[in-house]
């Protein structure tokens, strides 16, 4: 059994002049929750479609579960996916939609009941899907992805439309699936969700790979600092000058100063403020979230590559 869930080498896909996936080479380990992150139009869905055999690459190679994407039938029964939005026949029940796919995959009827149970749709399983709420349709999409009991599960925005309780349940389900040895790739704009669930992160922008590695490694790029808020807002500018004189860079957001120092230096900041007779209302260490790091990373990439990427 290969140690990699996915391997790509120079994977490229062009649509006319547009390069949707640009020379992406990466290795995604087996097992765990993998976050696939990127702005809209960054090439996430195209990459997923290539891996699933729905779209052919213009160049490059890839392997899914150790099998080449040139022959997706060699891994199709071990992969389940929800791409972009749930797909279903609206005038059919959830059970019949699932049964149609189960028949095609050669799965027993009991598997349909199992996935309906997992996503908690059994009570409405025989109703037409057109009568479902957005969240219920999303659950059906997840059920369809789970149908083959996959080793590799790819979910595009799985929590889209779910209520907070549903989001927590999905997060728990993903972790259980990963704990059972499966690889779960989750594409999401809710970076806080990924931060809570992902072990490994792939960041894509303009079709190009910006980062692929453990979440902890990405988060090491997170800037730390201390937020300082003086009791009197009028003191904020004076405080900024005072800190600058000490060599501590800061930026002002409203009445709050974000000082870019190690949080261990919080006491020093307080002492400096006291020395200038400035009373602090708040002094709090702050670490960038995944969202901050992502924005910082994609913004930097955008400023260094402002041209619209075209095929050479």
């Amino acid at each position: 059994m290969t140690a990699r869930a996915i391997t790509t080498s120079g994977l490229t896909r062009r649509f006319g002049d547009l390069v949707a996936v640009d020379d992406v080479s990466l290795e995604i380990p087996r097992g765990g929750v993998i976050g696939l992150v990127g702005p809209n139009g960054s090439g996430k869905s195209t990459t997923i479609r290539i891996l699933l055999g729905l779209i052919r690459p213009s160049a490059g190679t890839a392997e899914v579960l150790g099998r080449p994407i040139a022959d997706p039938s060699r891994y199709a029964d071990r992969v389940g996916a929800l791409i972009e939005s749930p797909a279903f026949i609206p005038t059919l029940s959830a059970r019949r939609n699932l049964a149609s796919l189960a028949l095609l995959r050669g799965l027993p009827d009991t598997r349909v009941d199992e996935v309906l149970h997992i996503v908690d749709l059994r009570d409405r399983a025989d109703d037409d899907v057109r009568t479902y709420s957005h969240g219920m349709k999303q659950r059906l999409g997840i059920a369809m992805a789970l149908l083959p009991d996959p080793d590799l599960l790819i979910l595009d925005e799985p929590t889209n439309g779910l209520d907070p309780a549903g989001i927590v349940e999905i997060r728990s389900l993903l972790k259980r699936l990963a704990a059972d040895g499966r690889t779960v790739i989750v594409s999401s704009h809710l970076l806080s969700e990924l931060e809570a669930a992902a072990d490994y992160v792939v960041v894509i922008r303009f079709g190009a790979l910006l980062f692929a590695g453990p979440l902890a490694e990405l988060m090491r790029q997170a800037r730390t600092g201390v937020e300082v808020e003086p009791e009197h807002p009028a003191d904020a500018a004076r405080l900024a000058k005072l800190f600058a004189a000490q060599g501590w860079a800061s930026e002002m957001t409203g009445d709050t100063l974000r000082v870019q120092v190690d949080p261990e230096l919080a006491a020093e900041l307080n002492r400096a403020a006291q020395g200038a007779s400035i009373v602090l209302r708040r002094l709090a260490p702050r670490t960038q979230s995944l969202e901050d790091v992502f924005l910082q990373m994609t913004t930097v990439a955008a400023t260094t590559d402002t041209t619209v990427r075209k095929a050479a």
Binding site: R49, S73, A76, S85, A87, I89, L107, I118, G166
Partner: protein
């Protein structure tokens, strides 16, 4: 959502079916095609069109003026001949063909409009199996539609003959042979219509475009081509279907019509397969 995931606690022995992949593809298609709204509407339309064609033919024969040389005596003779029992079914063939074309086009295009096609290709990446499975499932339903139309047409013909005074004495001389041949020919003719709708829908990925294109071609473009060149027109799909359903006519013999129909059906399937096999699934 359920707190305990059944699948996670069970051995992963999923592939229980020993059916050949192509049989699974057909059964999967039938699970979707036989949905209430789709099948119910189709059944109703096929029965209603055949019934209307039968009523119109018998009342038309009874009320015709004869000025066009096809008066009551001549139409009555046609209806009272041994093959008169299936005249209305043959007459409804074009309308039924349009229904089958629309049905096939919708069956294909709805997979694109709903995005279901990406689930199908994920589940069965050997795309030719999906095409073959859908074509075989649709062929089965087409045979069902032809059987329904034949039954409704024959039954209604007996009723209408009684109401309009048309003699049915000759109908029973070879009832099974006549009705059976009409059923087979109608099935084959409708399959050509279906193949046209199927191919156009695979190419356009749109129900409306497939129906408009298919009907527009057979009813308008082919007639225009016929006006320009009659020799060419007799070889085109519409003429071949008409001749096939009639069991051969003055323009095309039965064998030729059958060969042409088979060729057009095969062509439609080959084009569908070639396009589907190569095209990206972006739905």
């Amino acid at each position: 959502m359920a707190s305990s995931a059944i699948s996670l606690d069970q051995p992963r022995t999923m592939r229980a079916s020993t059916s050949p992949a192509i049989v699974r593809a057909v059964r999967s298609e039938l699970a979707r095609l036989t949905r209430r709204t789709f099948l119910g509407t189709g059944t109703l339309i096929v029965a209603a069109l055949t019934l209307l064609a039968t009523i119109a033919t018998f009342y038309g024969a009874a009320n015709a003026s004869g000025e066009d040389g096809f008066g009551p005596a001549m139409m009555g003779a046609v209806l009272e001949a041994p093959g008169g029992i299936v005249v209305t079914v043959q007459g409804a063939a074009t309308l039924l063909g349009i229904v089958v074309l629309a049905f096939a086009a919708t069956a294909v295009a709805v997979d694109y409009s709903t995005g279901f096609i990406r689930l199908l290709v994920q589940a069965e990446p050997r795309r030719w199996r999906l095409i073959a499975g859908k074509a075989m499932a649709l062929a089965g339903l087409t045979v069902g539609a032809a059987a329904l139309a034949t039954l409704v047409g024959v039954a209604a013909s007996f009723v209408m003959a009684g109401l309009t005074g048309v003699s049915t004495a000759a109908w029973t001389s070879d009832l099974l042979g006549t009705v059976g041949a009409t059923f087979v020919n109608l099935s084959l003719g409708l399959m050509v219509w279906g193949a046209i709708g199927f191919a156009i829908a695979v190419i356009t990925r749109s129900t409306a475009a497939a129906i408009a294109g298919g009907i527009g071609y057979v009813l308008v473009i082919e007639n225009l081509l016929g006006l320009l060149n009659q020799d060419l027109a007799q070889w085109l799909p519409g003429s071949a279907i008409t001749a096939l359903v009639a069991g051969g006519n003055a323009t095309l013999g039965y064998g030729t019509a059958l060969g042409l129909a088979a060729g057009y059906t095969l062509l439609g399937l080959i084009v569908s397969l070639a396009v589907f096999q190569r095209r990206d699934i972006t739905a």
